[in-house]
């Protein structure tokens, strides 16, 4: 069976649990500004690929890698260099 890249695409809703582990709060409604194109998307809207050794998050508008998250051996590695600003509720 041929697996197409588009079949592997999920969205930010799929990493709501993982992000809650890290940020200890609900994050799918948080809004991130892409460091490449400047567009703002809710975390629930972003493109998510989970078939890599970690999670790769891309901007749905320009395709820029926004986040990479790796969890293993009792540690997290969080690369947010593709997000210029992440805004979320403090409550």
């Amino acid at each position: 069976m041929t697996v197409q890249q588009s079949d592997l695409k999920l969205d930010g809703n799929a990493i709501g649990g993982l992000l809650r582990e890290i940020f200890t709060m609900e994050m799918t409604a948080a809004e991130g500004t892409c460091s490449s194109c400047g567009k703002v998307h809710a975390v629930g809207q972003v493109e998510v690929y989970m078939n890599a050794p970690g999670v790769v998050v891309r901007c749905p508008a320009c395709g820029q890698v926004q986040m990479r998250i790796v969890k293993g051996g009792g540690r997290y590695w969080l690369d947010l260099s593709g997000i210029r600003c992440l805004e979320f509720s403090s409550e």
């Binding site: 809703n13 709501g16 409604a29 629930g44 989970m50």
Partner: protein, 231 residues
């Protein structure tokens, strides 16, 4: 456990200390094998926030790691590890009075069903339309309940499309969701509807982009993709 279709079952769970949830949220379910191997998957909550027990609806994927266990081997009294509720984006809050268009494909109907059940439980009159794509009549999840709820004529209408096989005398749609179908089912743009689309990635992307082409405001279209990792 309620068998919904040959491949899909709902698990009804007693949840002491459940903090409550919003319609559209999901939970992460973790199962641990005897050798300590763990696998975790996300499943949408099917029950209304008002229900005393939590229901999740699971499609059995033959090559899945978690769903064959949940649907086939889990017994009454067994314990499963749940994390949640999760999600704040793909949720419907009844205080939002915009008319609702719910578009679901396959088991993507599950979070939409939580919204429909929530709407009924609180006696909401929010005008709501469900467009639900299944492969065949036997694959329609919650078929009898949807029929019963639509018959109440309280503002909920349900339209089905069957993409692979239709029974004799079928009077619903018989193709993939397209522009013409959305044109017939969707609320007119001036009514400023709120749209939720959930299903496999190709369906979600096709419906969302058709809705944008039709002139609906992109922020009013909320999407959730179910992927092959759902097993």
């Amino acid at each position: 456990m309620v068998q919904e279709t040959p491949r899909v079952a709902s698990l009804v769970l007693e949840m002491p200390d459940w903090p409550g949830h919003l319609a559209g949220q999901h939970v992460d379910v973790r199962v641990t094998a005897e050798d300590g191997y763990q696998a975790e998957r996300s499943y949408s909550i099917a029950s209304s926030p008002e229900d005393s027990r939590l229901a999740i609806t699971v499609e059995r994927l033959d090559d899945g790691e978690v769903s064959p266990y949940l649907v086939g081997e889990l017994r009454i009294g067994d314990k499963v590890e749940l994390r949640g509720p999760i999600g704040g984006y793909f949720v419907w809050r009844p205080a939002d009075e915009r008319p609702l268009l719910l578009v679901g494909g396959g088991s993507g109907v599950v979070p939409l069903m939580a919204m429909i059940r929530h709407r009924v439980a609180i006696n909401s009159k929010t005008p709501t339309r469900l467009l639900y794509s299944s492969r065949s009549q036997d694959d329609i999840i919650y078929r009898a309940e949807l029929e019963r709820l639509a018959a109440r004529a309280d503002g909920l209408t349900v339209a089905h499309t069957l993409t692979r096989m239709q029974p004799a005398g079928w009077d619903g749609y018989a193709r993939r969701i397209d522009l013409a179908m959305l044109g017939e089912v969707a609320w007119p743009r001036h009514e400023m509807p709120l749209t939720f689309v959930c299903g496999p990635t190709p369906l979600v992307e096709s419906v969302a982009s058709l809705m944008v082409d039709m002139g609906y405001d992109p922020p009013s279209i909320k999407t959730e993709r179910f992927g092959p990792t759902g097993g």
